[in-house]
């Protein structure tokens, strides 16, 4: 029986993740130093883990409201106000989700009709385009480049707008480039969204990992609150990737529609993760500061290292990635990543895994120890010297 004929054509048409293939090779090798990991090397701070254990002792094992525990939603609203002075009603305007990934999927499914277009600046997180496709929409990629430090401008976006354009999906600080957008730059994007009456989905999962700059929450910009769905979570800032917990904040209509899907597909986010997330928001700030300080030190170290090696690398001010250009070697991203892995046992991710405009670059995560970074840089330097 030909199973692929029985699968949905939509699913069949989605290419497998470019990262998966790499993982399969690297996972079996010994002595690999990985700069390919898209999650913190810190474990979740103990007080957060302990609060979950305590919660289990107290019998927190049930379903919660579809929206999530009210106490958690109240804490989320407080933190959004404290950080960005944007206000939400915890009862109707916040939905706790299974990571930002679920929130993104819900947002797309709630908004898109078949053929609706979503502007997706690239390079971008691997799931963006697939989420659009799975929801029946059309992802219209907008390439960004190192010339503009991988930021988007309204002028660039204008060229891609059609009568079917409905949503703009942005993710800053950016995975994989580490780019951030200033408030001024976002203001012009806001004006663009208003002009074309677009809904903006802003994935801000790396917001707290911003260095020597200030993060601007898109919905905090004038007149943007009601046309923006802010996605955020706990994975990166609180080192809680495996807990799978995030949230969406927006106006009650959008959140209500997303909740409708969430209640029939997920019901609720695991209560254990929600209990831990409350503790993270209430008492986790000092640990976040500590982790951000260390990431910033490593960021400078790895950036300096790549420049010493002679690879062009713009200064990323967010997330925990650097995105050096490997064009000077004459190799493609994939060739560079594969040959480096085989000859020097350093794993990183080819830039084209994040879209065509990532070709010629590689993503290197500095969510690893300074010793690993130093050793990896030496190996990469040795490898690059051959070209």
């Amino acid at each position: 029986m030909n199973w692929s004929e029985r699968l949905s054509p939509t699913v069949n048409a989605i290419p497998p993740s470019g990262i998966r293939r790499f993982f399969d090779i690297a996972a079996d090798m010994k002595g690999v130093i990985s700069l390919g990991v898209g999650e913190p090397d810190f474990v979740t701070p103990w007080h957060i883990r302990e609060s979950c254990i305590y919660g289990l002792h107290k019998g927190y094992t049930s379903y919660t409201s579809n929206y999530g525990l009210l106490e958690l939603r109240e804490e989320i609203v407080k933190s959004l106000y404290n950080d960005y002075q944007v206000t939400y009603d915890p009862r109707q305007e916040v939905l706790v989700t299974v990571g930002v990934s679920e929130a993104l999927d819900l947002a797309m499914r709630a908004l898109l009709s078949p053929g609706d277009e979503v502007l997706v600046p690239e390079p971008c997180y691997v799931s963006y385009k697939s989420c659009v496709t799975l929801a029946g929409g059309v992802a219209v990629t907008v390439p960004t480049s190192i010339d503009n430090q991988f930021c988007i401008t309204a002028d660039q976006l204008e060229a891609y707008v059609t009568p079917r354009t409905k949503v703009l999906l942005i993710g800053y600080p950016n995975n994989p480039t580490g780019a951030v957008m200033t408030r001024e730059a976002l203001m012009s994007i806001a004006a663009f969204a208003q002009k074309h009456d677009l809904i903006v989905i802003s994935d801000e999962i790396y917001a707290k990992l911003t260095y020597d700059a200030t993060h601007t929450c898109f919905s905090s910009l004038p007149d943007m609150r009601d046309r923006t769905i802010v996605l955020n979570g706990f994975s990166k800032a609180y080192a809680m990737t495996g807990w799978r917990i995030g949230y969406a904040a927006s106006n009650a209509d959008f959140i209500g529609a997303m909740t409708k899907i969430h209640q029939y597909t997920m019901l609720c986010t695991p209560i254990t993760a929600q209990v831990a997330a409350i503790e993270a928001l209430k008492r986790g700030e000092s640990q976040v500061t500590h982790m951000v300080t260390e990431y910033n030190q490593r960021r400078r170290l790895i950036l300096d290292g790549f420049r010493e090696i002679g690879l062009e690398c713009f200064e990323p001010k967010g997330a925990f990635y650097v995105f050096p250009s490997i064009k000077s070697t004459g190799l493609t991203s994939l060739e560079f990543a594969e040959q480096l892995l085989m000859s020097e046992k350093v794993a990183l991710v080819p830039g084209n895994a994040f879209g065509d405009s990532g070709e010629g670059f590689v993503r290197c995560s500095y969510a690893t120890s300074t010793k690993n970074i130093t050793e990896a840089l030496q190996r990469i330097g040795r490898f690059v010297a051959k070209f």
Binding site: I19, F22, S34, V37, G242, Q297, R300, D304
Partner: protein
Amino acid sequence: MKELLECLERDHTQSPEQLAVMLNRPAPEIAALIKQFQDEKIILKYQTIIDWEKAGVDNVTAVIEVKITPQREVGFDAIAERICRYPEVRGLYLMSGGYDLSVTIEGASLRDVADFVSTKLSTIDGVVSTNTNFMLKKYKYAGVIIDDLEEEHRLVVSP
């Protein structure tokens, strides 16, 4: 510069050049700061934390609660100063609560520690009483968990 000291406390083997990059300061400035911290005894010493039990070296540690009579003009300091000087004393703190000094002693055997308490510590003028507590197991020392069960569980490559 607190951030530099924190970096050194975490790993003092990092070179001034590397620290300079990490802290976004000129290397000569970092080298000068480190020297200044050493000269001013802000950095007291660079030390290695060893799991002696794993190394197969037996020793005994005791925490002794000491009550003393404070002395005119010098309070607790003069007696503390005398106790400090013994190499067996690994830690010494003035405490609030039911006793005055907490003295951590390390010896090769129980007998060593007992001898120290009875012949050296108790006989100091001004020491009123001692209460010796032997340490049975060390779980965490100098901020390091001795037998840390946490392992790296991350995938080698992930999005």
